[in-house]
Symmetry: C2
């Protein structure tokens, strides 16, 4: 049995998360029982939602248990199998967590999924053609329900969700305006991802300035908004919404560190008859096949060119994760383990 380096949640953050919240340990992988599969992880996914689970307080999911392996998506290869449908060498995605290997009961529905890496690189199944891509798809297609000619706005536009959202919205004939941090990311969002415009929030650090920038880039107002961040950007977007705008609410990174972020003017939901809906994509497994089919096709056609930030080695996971929370990543944040 191979040895298995793991990152545990050692203690909960007080305020900002730090590297000392995690602990690196080494374990043996246990022998397989019937129906179990040993997966060697090639990539681990780092995602903003993990910060919410590090808190003990009520979040949109069970808290990450203390002293256990950090949970998260993984992509890898079967290295040993006691399940008839999985063979050594199969490429698979699952929820193996922050460790080099995982033992998976492959008879559990949804625990493991074989993927085809002929046209789509393995790592993409953790990003554009995985959970972040489906997140963008669900928010856009099921909540925002865009019409051709409408204007869509998304924060964290250069990230995994943002890049998929842009391609999906362009495919539906919308004007798509991204918000991202820094000139380099904004250039990528327009030049590579094909957004119509991108606003650098570092140049617009308050509601008034951001609202003016949105007015310039969204001359017909905002019909759909995908909320990833919270805080003053949300306030500014609401000021520019059209009647009957829709808001898909999927993350509020800025608020994970403890202090709730207020919303300045919720009366705008009434004034503009806005629909807002919070969601977690894992509660909508029924849409995954349809969403993944569209996302895979966009990648194959070159209409969705995701970018990745790849940290090397299990040891690098905490720092890469903390950087992600501060927007230091550029595209989907991964940890490469082999």
């Amino acid at each position: 049995m191979p040895t298995n380096k793991q990152q545990l949640l050692d203690n909960r953050p007080e305020g900002e998360a730090t590297a000392s919240n995690f602990k690196l340990v080494t374990a043996e992988t246990p022998p397989l029982k019937d129906n179990e599969v040993l997966v060697k992880h090639h990539y681990m996914s780092l995602d903003p939602y993990m910060r919410g689970r590090m808190n003990e307080s009520k979040s949109y999911a069970q808290p990450q248990p203390l002293g256990q392996v950090m949970q998260g998506g993984t992509a890898g290869e079967v290295v040993e199998s006691k399940h008839p449908k999985y063979a050594v060498g199969d490429k698979v995605v699952g929820f193996g967590g922050w460790q080099q290997y995982s033992v998976v009961d492959a008879s559990q529905p949804g625990a493991l999924k074989k993927v085809d890496t002929t046209h789509v690189p393995l790592s993409y199944y953790l990003g554009a053609v995985g959970m972040p891509g489906v997140t963008a798809w669900y928010g856009l297609v099921k909540i925002i329900e865009p019409k051709a000619g409408e204007t869509m706005v998304i924060t964290a536009a250069s990230g995994a969700v943002g890049s998929a959202f842009g391609a999906l919205a362009k495919a539906r004939g919308c004007r798509v305006v991204g918000i991202a941090g820094g000139a380099e990311k904004c250039k990528y969002v327009t030049d590579e991802l094909g957004f119509d415009a991108c606003i650098d929030y570092k140049q617009h650090p308050d509601t008034k300035s951001m609202s003016a920038a949105l007015k310039a880039e969204c001359p017909k107002g905002i019909d759909g908004y995908f909320e990833n961040v919270g805080g003053y950007i949300f306030d500014a977007v609401l000021l520019r919404t059209n009647a009957f705008a829709r808001v898909a609410l999927c993350g509020m990174i800025a608020g994970y560190d403890g202090q709730p972020l207020p919303l300045a003017n919720p009366a705008l939901f009434l004034v503009n008859r806005i629909k807002l809906q919070g969601f977690i994509v894992s509660e909508h497994m029924e849409v995954w096949p349809e969403a993944l089919a569209e996302l895979g096709a966009l990648v194959a056609k070159g209409q969705l060119k995701p970018r990745e930030s790849v940290a090397e080695g299990i040891e690098s996971a905490p720092e890469a994760f903390l950087g992600l929370l501060k927007g230091k990543n550029f595209g989907k944040q991964l940890v490469k383990l082999v």
Copy 2:
């Protein structure tokens, strides 16, 4: 032609609305043209939404023009007609405004509606079986979509919208908890309107206290919320929502006087995957027949016993309206003109 006393909007409020914003004038009613009808108003409706229209700023409707008759719903009787479908003596509801008479082009769709006062008093068509009743119906049926056994909460529970909401939600097998101001109103809400419980917000003047009161009265959490007020009560309700709660947003009285009221913790929309939707009932005319049929039946069966606050005479309208904004009314606020 009879003389016609009218209340005009003379100037816009700066902060709180005052009686000096209005001006009482006397005009002659003009001679009727073809298809026009002269209606003598028996009742004028006073409603919170009118405060929003007094502001010049963008609201959910066109601002009330300065120097013109205050707009609003009316119920009355045809006293002269040049339209073939309306005869002298017909009881009608319309949008005649703050005046004793109105001249209506009855050929315009929706301008005037004949009503049957055999089983339902004329004034109810401005309340439980009118716009406020349909407002409650739309929020409950179309946005909240209640299931039997769920818990519903509504603010301004003793008012026209609240009383209808309670009867409609009870008819669907829900637990219904009202929020109202003062022991007398709360007693009415439980004893006469049949709510399961009513919380006196005057006894719970902050988020923490209101949240504790809601916890006590909603032991299974809150699944549906009809928002009429805004401010700390909204914050407190959000703290008690269950996963997949729905919020119908139809008024934010507390914010009409200028200062936007912030929302303390919008991340709860995500944590609990809440759907929130703002709406104006006049934009959903397609539901009125179905809604009014159910509301009329509830009144006829004695399951909806609306209460009215009736001010006497056109002169009393401004003070009655300002009292409404401060919660001084008890039930649907009307002005009786004959």
